[in-house]
């Protein structure tokens, strides 16, 4: 039976992802059996993806305000004050499920969607980042997914001409059936020209611009709100197809129109397309909306109302215009060769009314659609505390351990990936990938620099979701601080498994608790974000495997004078200092995993007071010009951090025996938090006494200069060897040898 003949009932509602309870609610609101189109509208608006029904209760606990926050969560993206009357507009969003089904288009449309969220608000996108998690490199499909995702991100971002400047990549078998593709866009707008989505003005025209509507992506939001099973790949028709060329035209046309006063409200058609954009715009403005689907530009014939309302065709926007400006707007969109159609108007009925071929296909009261959307307080089970680390012995020594670590998939050079992303278009990229802890982009025609990063350590979050949530926030804050920038705010992308499983829900709740504590302690509020649940693959035997809990954090910081930043490259001479306390925490460390083959122990705890103290001190020192280079200590510990600085700069370093009283592997590879490596001129004594006076742990690690990394034993690993080991993994794994980064 084709969908056209289907009638709405509880069984069809279940097929659309609504529970029986939720369907009863629909019946109560409608006081009749809904039409197919109406049921479609309810099901996507009440999907997890659009309604945040499992997460909303907990998201409310996150801090979202600060004096510099202009718009927090609730708009298309977060908006913060960056000085000189300008605002940064940013958000991160997932495209996980589509990227597993169809890696290239899934990733590409993820980039397209997040770009639209940002330029919808009147901001020109100035940078893209991405946080990617893939399955084990040994899994045969992983390579294909990595290849498709990287090509997709590049294919879209390169064409629209927004530089991809940073990101992160992890591998773990928990992502075998469910990779994570989280894309972040940062834009810049004038503070007095921010565009919002609340519709206003009864009778005002509702205008559709961009690409034509097709049958792609129907029920994409519903698909993203369910577990995968062995039939996942059959869901390919729910994946959208992107056209970055049209997106580029749409950016230019929208920004050109936004320079006028024509727009009352604007929203992109993302998940659930025409449905969510029209419902949300009218709902936020407390008005009604009437849509005439005959006026919608269509690229296929014979589309039904249901298909048009649920299509997730890409590169489309919905706007409410001042009526007298319609012709002006039409001229601009026609200049850019984009479709422009008046598809409806605002009403005072408080209802969404959809007509097609003279027939009313949907007529739903908006308030209950929003207000009576289900919110769940899902049950949680107590988390199982992580087991002990177990006996630790170093079977190979520092040198072999370091070589193993910097060559492993999680630490190997990502040049093979970022060399496929245009990182310089726009001419404002001050620090490209791999040159500093955060990417630095100058705001055109100003002295302002934006410091951008994405961070999360999923293995910590799995062992201890609360500590891991706090650590993700702290690491983003630290990476921004390490460039000298002031951290302002974050966007979060919360990737978890099935929230109906109490153990998954418990991870989610604990991670948010940790994030909230860190955000509050560091004055680093959450201004936008996205929740992606049901990242879980059901096996044929009904057992299920969830991903590692992955609350990815996208951080943004600002430098009033972009010249006053530092990179991570080891300078020619000076002294290498370590800020922060080293206790030798090996639980969940990469050393433990890569050298001993164990993923055991607790995650390292973040002492938020020390984090703040250390970071503020580092930032002050960079601002005063006392620091030549800075790099945070994270995955792999101190020794990996030192090697990374050497590989980035070409100059060497001679480490002294630390006299720490702990085993060498614990000192050099432990992953204690709140630590920075600082390269300073001279002997660093001045900084030491300043730190002592402030109660900040600081020690000299060694002298800077010469060639290669000289270990406390006196053995030297040459820089070319470090680089060769670090560069080897990706080209070898992906079967090419031509992608050598030009390290300069």
């Amino acid at each position: 039976m084709s969908l056209k003949q289907k009638v709405a009932d509880a069984a069809l509602a279940r097929e659309f992802g609504l529970s029986d309870d939720e369907y009863d609610r629909v019946l109560a609101i409608m006081s009749r059996t809904p039409s197919l189109t109406e049921l479609g509208i309810f099901s996507v608006m009440w999907s997890e993806h659009c309604s945040y029904k499992s997460s909303r209760k907990w998201l409310r606990t996150l801090p979202t305000t600060a004096p510099w926050v202009i718009h927090g969560p609730g708009e298309n993206a977060g908006v913060v004050d960056i000085g000189q009357g300008l605002a940064a507009v940013f958000k991160m969003e997932s495209h996980n499920h589509p990227s597993f089904i169809e890696p290239y288009q899934g990733a590409a449309t993820g980039v397209g969607g997040i770009l639209r969220d940002v330029f919808t608000m009147g901001a020109r996108p100035v940078a893209n980042l991405n946080a990617l998690r893939f399955g084990s490199p040994e899994n045969s499909r992983t390579r294909q997914i990595v290849d498709g995702v990287v090509r997709g991100i590049g294919g879209y971002g390169n064409c629209v001409g927004v530089p991809t400047v940073g990101g992160e990549v992890n591998f773990h078998s928990a992502y075998d059936g469910n990779p994570l593709v989280n894309a972040m866009t940062v834009g810049v707008a004038r503070q007095d020209r921010i565009f919002l989505s609340a519709a206003a003005g009864i009778g005002n025209p509702v205008v559709y611009v961009g690409s034509k509507t097709g049958r792609d992506g129907i029920h994409g939001a519903t698909m993203s709100s369910a577990e995968f099973d062995e039939h996942a790949l059959a869901k390919r028709p729910t994946v959208q197809v992107g056209d970055p060329f049209v997106e580029k035209l749409l950016i230019e046309a929208c920004l050109e129109l936004m320079a006028t006063d024509a727009i009352v409200a604007i929203q992109d058609m993302g998940a659930a397309g025409l449905t969510s954009s029209s419902v949300e715009m009218a709902g936020k403005g407390n008005v009604g909306i009437e849509l005439d689907l005959d006026a919608v530009p269509q690229r296929e014939t014979g589309m039904t109302a249901y298909e048009m309302m649920l299509s997730e065709s890409q590169e489309r926007m919905l706007m409410v215009l001042k009526p007298e400006c319609t012709d002006l707007a039409r001229t601009i969109f026609e200049k850019w060769e984009l479709d422009f159609a008046v598809v409806g108007h605002l009403t005072d009925t408080g209802r969404i009314v959809v007509t097609h071929k003279g027939k009313v296909e949907a007529d739903i009261p908006l308030a209950p659609l929003a207000d009576q959307a289900p919110i769940y307080d899902r049950s949680i089970t107590p988390l199982v505390p992580p087991g002990p680390v177990g006996p630790v012995h170093d079977p190979v020594g520092l040198e072999q351990s370091l070589i193993k670590l910097i060559g492993c998939p999680d630490l190997a050079s990502r040049a093979w990936i970022w060399n496929q992303y245009d990182s310089t278009v726009g001419g404002q990229t001050v620090r490209r990938p791999g040159r500093a802890d955060a990417a630095i982009v100058r705001v055109e025609d100003t002295s302002i620099g934006l410091a951008l990063t994405t961070d999360c350590t999923p293995r910590y979050c799995y062992a201890n979701p609360k500590a891991g949530g706090a650590q993700a926030v702290a690491e983003a804050w630290r990476n921004i601080t390490a460039t000298g920038a002031t951290p302002l705010a974050v966007t979060d992308n919360l990737n978890f498994g099935n929230p109906e499983k109490p153990e998954v829900m418990a991870q989610f709740v604990a991670a948010i608790e940790g994030m909230g504590e860190a955000c509050r302690a560091l004055d680093f509020p959450v201004v936008s974000g996205n929740v992606s649940l049901y990242n879980q693959t059901r096996n044929p035997d009904e057992s299920a495997r969830a991903i590692l809990p992955t609350p990815a954090i996208g951080g943004l910081g600002v430098l009033a004078d972009v010249e006053k930043h530092v990179g991570m490259a080891m300078p020619e001479s000076g002294t290498l200092l370590l800020i922060g306390e080293t206790k030798g925490h090996l639980g969940q460390s990469l050393w433990l995993r890569e050298v001993l083959g164990r993923e055991t122990g607790d995650a390292p705890m973040v002492d938020l007071a020390a984090e703040r103290r250390n970071g503020d001190f580092v930032r002050e020192q960079i601002a005063s010009g006392a620091v030549l280079a800075c790099h945070d200590v994270s995955d792999g510990g101190i020794l990996v951090g030192v090697a990374e600085m050497i590989m980035a700069g070409g100059h060497g370093c001679e480490l002294e025996p630390p006299q720490s009283g702990m085993r060498p592997e614990a000192f050099w590879f432990g992953e204690d938090q709140g630590r920075y490596l600082l390269a300073v001129p001279g002997d660093g004594q001045e900084l030491l006494s300043m730190a002592r006076a402030r109660g900040i742990a600081l020690r000299v690690l060694g002298g800077i200069g010469g060639e290669g990394l000289t270990l406390p034993s006196g053995a030297t690993i040459s820089t070319p060897r470090l680089v060769a080991v670090n560069d080897a993994f990706f080209p070898a794994w992906m079967g090419v040898d031509a992608f050598e980064a030009v390290r300069s």
């Binding site: 090509r151 590049g154 294919g155 390169n158 064409c159 629209v160 001409g161 056209d243 970055p244 060329f245 049209v246 580029k248 035209l249 850019w336 060769e337 040049a415 970022w418 060399n419 496929q420 992303y421 245009d422 990182s423 310089t424 278009v425 726009g426 001419g427 404002q428 990229t429 001050v430 490209r432 100058r442 055109e444 972009v562 010249e563 090419v736 040898d737 031509a738 992608f739 050598e740 980064a741 030009v742 300069s744």
Partner: protein, 233 residues
């Protein structure tokens, strides 16, 4: 220097080029929409980088038929100066204003990285800011930069000194088989060429993205400084 930058649908490095021209010459260039059918008084026209028409059909193929290209042909025939960078170079070969073609990179992937270029002929208006055999750094960012031409054309280009820039190692050595120094696989490691009269130049890398020490160097400046000299004379 009165410069104009052509904007096609999908052009995306016009802002970079405008900034470079403004920084070096002190004068903002005019932006020219692709549908223009007459040109203002200009010394130099730049076809910038990007994905004109989404690179659909073939890179530069559709832009080559834009209305403004008729005017640009006329401008060229009257001795006007034209610089095509990246997509602009592709458009210049598609219109046959410059010989040869740009195929997909040999590894079939988009490449974004720094490369080293050697100035093989410092006598052209586009290379006058350098000395012969100078080596400089420039970012490249393209999927289709693998230059090819038939033997006869290559002989002509080489014989007439029309290879402006070649991909080389940091030491200045050109080797077309070496993917580290010649990443897209261009024949004879050709990165940029000029027309027979030297007044039209096409190149794949982006000197316009390296004119400010803050962005990592000023290696690209001599191109614009050299052009300034030409128009002051």
């Amino acid at each position: 220097m009165k410069a104009g930058i052509v904007v096609f649908p999908g052009t995306n490095r016009e802002r970079d080029m405008a900034i470079a021209l403004r920084v070096v010459s002190g004068r903002a260039p005019k932006m020219l929409w692709h549908r223009e059918t007459s040109l203002p008084d200009l010394d130099l026209i730049v076809l910038p980088g990007g994905f004109s028409y989404g690179d659909y059909l073939r890179c530069g193929a559709m832009a080559a038929h834009s209305p403004i290209m008729r005017e640009i042909r006329k401008f060229v025939s009257e001795g006007g100066y034209v610089l095509g960078v990246c997509n602009g170079f592709q458009i210049l070969t598609e219109t046959k204003i410059l010989p040869g073609a740009l195929l997909k990179n040999t590894e079939l992937r988009f490449l974004s990285q720094d490369c080293f270029l050697r100035v093989d002929n410092a006598e052209t208006p586009f290379t006058a800011g350098w000395q012969k055999n100078d080596v400089f750094r420039a970012p490249l960012a393209h999927g289709d930069g693998n230059y090819v031409a038939d033997e006869k054309t290559l002989e002509q280009l080489e014989g007439e000194g029309r290879i402006a820039f070649r991909y080389v190692s940091s030491a200045g050595i050109a080797c077309s088989e070496d993917r580290k120094s010649n990443p897209n696989g261009s024949v004879n490691a050709i990165a940029g060429i000029v027309s027979a009269d030297g007044r039209v130049c096409g190149m794949m890398p982006h000197p316009e993205d390296l004119v400010d020490p803050l962005m990592g160097g000023e290696d690209g400046r001599p191109l614009f400084e050299g052009l300034m000299e030409v128009f002051i004379r």
